[in-house]
């Protein structure tokens, strides 16, 4: 499948989110060959799903666009989507890599004209929007998808529906006979930027996520606020599609909790404050209440905290929420907690509740595992004794975009050092 040839002078980057993209580009722009492997059908990872960045409230696609342009014009970066590294062997300076390519069923002839989606009638839960809406089984993952190429869901690959899509394509771009393939690479060093996944909020059973429709997570909030999200950018109550008037944010939904995630995920305070600005922009009358243990807005992000506090419709209450119950008739949610400043018991009702869930580092699914160190929580630890594989971004610590990019830039130099040592 792949005619790619690399030597032990090349760098492998695993993961095509903002950390992986950065690590790949920084090394390539310094003159090194890089191969980037991403498991989704598009690059951009979690960042592509965000509506805005804090504290500037600017769209992540802006930076991604610059990065994709850097990538487009730099022949030193080659990337593979729907690809996963299935094995790593060897050591610093001489790794043998096997990459597994899942079939996209759409080849490079795709012009993105959209004819296949027009005829396709079978729908699946849209993974890009966390299943909050449906997408066709012949689909473009999202408008800004890079590479801009359609995907055929495997569920229709061998069906009449698949055939229908294939027939609709005027360019011979749909090839339902594509099979999973593998190819081998030689590289000198590896940047591990596999990213994170949101903590499964249903684990915290007393918050009722998955049971109560109007309890959503922070990552779902991002999709809901995005123009290309399930509601076209309008924040609406999932149960009845109504506008919201009174929204609660439950901080540390699983984080800083030894029963779930003992560490602090670092970004959720600012994410919720950012979401408060989304709500306040859309609904001038909406009340927002943020329930927290400690507000953790490091360095000049404190300014953002100050700014959000100035909004009189946003209230901060120091309390870990202990219980959420649903009013079955209205779909409203009753939150219970203790206001630790006043000692009063809280029983407050809201239209919608957003759980500030934390980050869990993505696991390495490989047998045998490469020779790397992990901490208690599954984050990758840099160990100078085990040079050759370097973590970047949220596989090392739960952190925001700026720190991930900074970390990925550092990881690319470490990867270059491994090659320089040869």
């Amino acid at each position: 499948m792949s005619d790619i040839q690399t030597t032990n002078q090349a760098i492998l980057v695993i993961g095509g989110g903002i950390s992986g993209i950065t690590a790949a580009l920084e090394a390539a722009e310094a003159g090194y060959d890089v191969v980037l492997v991403e498991k989704n059908p598009y690059l951009g990872g979690r960042v592509a799903q965000l509506h805005q960045y804090f504290p500037k409230l600017c769209p992540p696609n802006c930076g991604l666009e610059i990065n994709f342009r850097r990538m487009r014009q730099n022949p030193r970066v080659r990337f593979f989507t729907m690809a996963e590294v299935s094995s790593i062997s060897g050591q610093e300076g001489e790794y043998d890599i096997t990459v597994r390519l899942s079939p996209r069923y759409v080849n490079e002839k795709c012009t993105c004209c959209g004819k296949c989606a027009e005829v396709c009638e079978v729908e699946i839960d849209n993974p890009f929007n966390f299943g909050m809406d449906k997408t066709k089984t012949a689909y473009l993952p999202h408008e800004f998808a890079f590479p801009m190429r359609y995907v055929i869901d495997p569920s229709i690959a061998c069906t009449e529906e698949g055939k229908k899509c294939q027939d609709a394509c005027e360019y011979g771009a749909i090839d339902l006979d594509i099979k999973e393939t593998t190819f081998d690479l030689k590289v000198g060093s590896i940047v591990w930027a596999a990213g994170w996944e949101p903590y499964d909020a249903s684990q915290v059973e007393y918050y009722g996520f998955g049971e109560y429709k109007n309890v959503i997570t922070n990552v779902m909030m991002e999709r809901m606020a995005s123009q290309n999200g399930p509601t076209g950018g309008k924040i609406l109550r999932p149960s009845d599609g109504k506008e919201v008037k009174n929204v609660a944010f439950v901080q540390c939904a699983g984080s800083r909790d030894e029963n779930y995630l003992a560490y602090c995920s670092g970004i959720c305070c600012l994410a919720s404050m950012k979401h408060a600005t989304y709500l306040r922009e859309q609904y001038p009358d909406c009340d927002v209440t943020i329930f927290f243990i400690d507000i953790r807005a490091l360095d000049r992000l404190e300014d953002f905290y100050t700014k959000v506090q100035e909004d009189e419709k946003v209230t901060f209450i120091k309390s870990k929420i202990a219980n959420i119950t649903e009013d079955e008739e209205t779909g409203d949610l009753l939150l219970e907690g203790e206001n630790t400043r006043t000692g009063e018991q809280i029983r407050m009702s809201f239209d919608m509740v957003v759980l500030a869930t934390g980050m869990v580092p993505n696991k390495i699914n490989m047998d045998p595992l490469p020779d790397v160190l992990f901490d208690d929580y599954g984050f990758l630890i840099y160990d100078p004794e085990k040079a050759g594989i370097y973590g970047a971004g949220c596989v090392r610590r739960p952190t925001d975009v700026a720190s991930s990019v900074q970390d990925a830039t550092a990881a690319s130099l470490k990867a270059i050092q491994s090659i320089a040592r040869r």
Partner: protein
């Protein structure tokens, strides 16, 4: 508007060292989840989190005479939910015990009920649904006893009708001697500080 108080670290140390599970309080980060999880927190003068704050501040009197520490019904919700895995239930029981031992009777009725309950179990090995309330109701004198009894007469009649309460007194269980031995031993163990849940 605010009371003034001085911090006194000696009580915290006392609790850490002498109260069963007392040193677990160190881990409290004051999130308040225990208070809000507690079915009785509205009845408590100081829900668990506040108790921990008061200990930290050194308010010995206020903590040991608090009725909250006697009210815990051991539902374990707080212990299950505490993000720092503090065994809040055990701490509350530990404090209750410690208070009693030090001559604090934070809630007379609760302590009284507990005492009568214990006596009866020790005496006959079971609870007599007529006898225990009678002893408990009349502990404060005859007039008080009649008042208390009348206020519970509805429930009493219903219990008779549903055959939940017999007219005749309960008998001692078989093997009451062995039970008393076990209870004696448990008490001794507790005194040595060896018992734990």
């Amino acid at each position: 508007m605010r009371k003034n108080g001085n911090y006194d670290p000696s009580f915290a140390r006392e609790v850490f060292e002498n109260v069963d599970f007392g040193d677990e309080i160190k881990m409290c980060m004051q999130c308040g989840v225990c208070a809000a999880s507690c079915p009785l927190s509205l009845q408590m003068d100081h829900p668990p989190r506040q108790i921990f704050t008061l200990i930290r501040a050194g308010k010995r009197e206020e903590v040991l005479s608090s009725q909250a520490i006697m009210l815990c019904t051991s539902c374990y919700t707080c212990k299950v939910r505490c993000p720092r895995k503090i065994p809040v239930v055990d701490v509350m029981h530990g404090l209750a015990n410690y208070a009693l031992k030090n001559g604090f009777v934070p809630r007379k009725d609760t302590a009284n009920f507990g005492g009568k309950f214990w006596d009866q179990v020790y005496r006959i090995g079971r609870i007599d649904e007529k006898d225990l309330p009678r002893r408990y109701f009349f502990a404060g004198g005859f007039v008080e006893g009649i008042k208390n009894t009348l206020s519970f007469s509805d429930i009493g009649i219903k219990m008779f009708l549903h055959k939940r309460m017999k007219l005749l007194p309960e008998r001692k269980i078989k093997g009451i001697i062995s039970l008393r031995k076990m209870l004696d031993k448990a008490e001794k163990m507790q005194e040595r500080g060896g018992a734990s849940v």
